[in-house]
Symmetry: C2
Subunit: 150 residues, 2 copies
Amino acid sequence: MSENILGTDQVCQVGLVVRDIGKALDAYCTLLGIPCPPVVITDAYEKAQTMYRGQPSLAQAKLAFIDLGQVQIELIEPIGAPSTWKDGLDEKGYSVHRIAFKVKDTPQVVEKLTQQGMPPIQQGQYTGGMYTYIDSAKKLGVILELLENF
Amino acid sequence: MSENILGTDQVCQVGLVVRDIGKALDAYCTLLGIPCPPVVITDAYEKAQTMYRGQPSLAQAKLAFIDLGQVQIELIEPIGAPSTWKDGLDEKGYSVHRIAFKVKDTPQVVEKLTQQGMPPIQQGQYTGGMYTYIDSAKKLGVILELLENF
């Protein structure tokens, strides 16, 4: 058996891109019989340091998180500049954009994935951690997200 | 707090439709450092009793299952007659087609979902259980799958 490049096999999030986060959130919360969680906006560039296709990006998004046991559903409505969020919405509409795994050493995982033909496509920071989206849709049918909490 | 229509909040599967299951399976197994699980073919109509958009369907698919803790990744390559699998592939290419939940009383859950504007779109049987796909992509961005094991 060879190495698990991600260092984990636990999917922790399924992220969907949406055109109208309020409407989507309402549909999920009605389905699950739960109160709607708050919608938050990602940090501005100064804090998020978002990189998209190798360039700094002002992209932001509205986010909402729905806890479903091990897996969290994340709804993302892109706002502002180009991003993988907006690309996903333009290409496939309201749909699953990525699945996320918690990793321990982002640079090392990114290097191994890049060697496998799956380079990073977007990266950013949030309070307490960072995320990296991997250009894996051709090989895996979905974007991989690496989440690393510090 | 209102009722959870599904009776569960545990995502048990993420299903992707693929054009080439061998290639996709290889990419996932390389990523995770695991031996490739077998590819199986869904039962023929006599056993599966597949219904698609209210009509009996000869649709079949090649399937492979990758266990990732609570969540199983299911890869589906449609073969044969029209199906939601083929629709998904035609519309969005290799992509996440649905998320699945285990339910206890399919007819009751289907009735409640239908009342919410999310009727069933495809249903079939397998050894030990049945699956129902729900036409939820407009509201939830993804097809819901109800799995009931008897």
